[in-house]
Symmetry: C2
Subunit: 393 residues, 2 copies
Amino acid sequence: MKKVYLDHIADTPLHPEALETMLPYLKENFGNPQSLHSSGQQAQQALEEARENVARLIHAQAAEIFFTSSGSESNNFAVKGLALAQKGRGNHIVLSSIEHQSVLHSAKSLEKFGYTVSLVPVDKFGRVTPEDVRKAITPDTVLVSVMLANSEAGTIQPIKEIAEACREQEVLFHTDAVAAVGNIPVDVTELGVDALSLAGNQFYGPKGSAALFLKKGTRILPFIDGGIQEGGRRAGTEDVAAIVGLGKAAEIAMRDWKKRQEKVLPLRDRLIRELPQRVEHVFFTGHPESRLPHHASFCIEFIEGEAMLLNLDMQGISASSGSACTSRALKASHVLLAMGIDHALAQGSLVFSLIKDTTEEDIEYLLEVFPPIIERLRKMSPLYTQYLEEKKK
Amino acid sequence: MKKVYLDHIADTPLHPEALETMLPYLKENFGNPQSLHSSGQQAQQALEEARENVARLIHAQAAEIFFTSSGSESNNFAVKGLALAQKGRGNHIVLSSIEHQSVLHSAKSLEKFGYTVSLVPVDKFGRVTPEDVRKAITPDTVLVSVMLANSEAGTIQPIKEIAEACREQEVLFHTDAVAAVGNIPVDVTELGVDALSLAGNQFYGPKGSAALFLKKGTRILPFIDGGIQEGGRRAGTEDVAAIVGLGKAAEIAMRDWKKRQEKVLPLRDRLIRELPQRVEHVFFTGHPESRLPHHASFCIEFIEGEAMLLNLDMQGISASSGSACTSRALKASHVLLAMGIDHALAQGSLVFSLIKDTTEEDIEYLLEVFPPIIERLRKMSPLYTQYLEEKKK
């Protein structure tokens, strides 16, 4: 059976070049970077090279990069660490309503310690209005966190303008750029952010590799307490192989992102254009222009996402219905609900996210296979039957 | 040059069989375990198999194992998560004074939220007296954490008795078993612990792989907030390859631990016996019997650990001076100080920790190379000159 992987937002395959650079650290170069002997020093040097590459990818300095184990850990580190480091200054946090669960729930955990959280709405395209952020900031606000790109709707936020609104009011600004970094150009200086989360498995690096960018001079409390790794800000023996893989993936992304984008954009656009032509009652979601180049998202009326995913899977196609971090929870996406999409329609969410190896044939295959799947599922759908009956009247 | 790696406590080489099982998950099987399609389900299944193996290694149930990214994260998760989950009940934590920094600093962080911490002393062998733990517990105590084995002194604690003292007083008990699991038999049921930390890189599994055992029914707050991974208790895309490697390392440890111990024990004993015979002013540290089978630790008078490590390294020998997590901080070990070793002597700490591949020749080589190194360093040591002069008088 043909295999078509269209679930970039859940995970990208590890780049063979990245794996190649990791292998020595899974074999003979197994030293602990904190050890003073030469096998430790070798590992330490590998870490620092990776740090340089990750820094370069987002136009930061190496000393501003702190390695973590996942985008979720980076988000926890940023939200909790930045808020708690300013405990005396204030206790209010501003988030967008479509943040990833790791940002939303980190803030929720802080409520137990006296923090309050305001959620800024998004428009029907999933965009935050910078003016809304400005208005949400109070004298007690110590942190604003708005994601750079949303993995469920694909929408890219006006981060530069939001960062400016924060800077004007002297409030720290963090952006969860996990879905964006490595796929579109991200420049922390140009964006003017104080902190930024990124993860290797979103741009062909290994799982277990991620980082937090923290602007020089920004105070943060460690999240994982312990040893002196990462400048005393993140304890735990460094996962050298994963970090080396992340560094290589960053290097490759700098080299290849444009080529990848040029390849993936027309395929993505074809999908956005043709899917609603081939199947009735298909609604495109997210922003039409300001969106991730590999991202096509829809809501399919009268059918639940899960049923579509399983039927697509039977045809060899991997896709997703919202965030992988909650997909097994099978709840309607808080992102789509925040965009004003009604609950029933949001249940029919479907995201096709292309990878660098996606071909014209893959898209063609999806476009062929999809209509009969939907037809079959709709035949079994009480909602659809009801719709047809009401239409007759 | 001959290479002799005697730094097990900093890191063990990844077992080739473990790497072999990891590779498919770094190549074609790259799915996100949370994805509903078959590539995700394959990854999910691999996770669950690894969970079974890790559980079996410590005689736990699979549902009691939660994967993390390092021993330090497991310790943070346990100390913070268990204490915060009982916030209404009390605010007092009891630790031994020789805990790893990730336990000590986690508790220190909790002090900012109104918790108080008591440190229980150790004897000159680095042993905690269960009666001291019993006495340290107050009606406000919500958590006791005492490590199973100390990586700097090698000493194994009377965990079963300490756990019993906690259970009698209905206080949760966590043990940091990072240095122990996979190297000596550990049975959570027999020990009677509520929570236990372990890490793959201490028994030939990959870096970035670790777990927290949490006894069924024990309430804990998530440490990394976010998605629904690990039963909602630890968010972040699972590092499938690392977890699979951990599972394999656990399986191998169950098969090989006895063989490894039988091989390493006589070599370790020879080192402990002969090193002080070949060099003057060498003091064995830690418990002579109740200790890790691969662990030989000493304090060498009149010389600093760092100088010895670098000189040993020049002869191809990797060793350590205290914990890798703080070795670059070059402070006298809090563990040795707590054992009553004076500050100057503690600076001369040296740990040789054998791995499964250590040979008789390795030990022979070390015993040959070591005396001239020490002689040379002592010639340059003002402390030694002073000692000789005082001796003359």
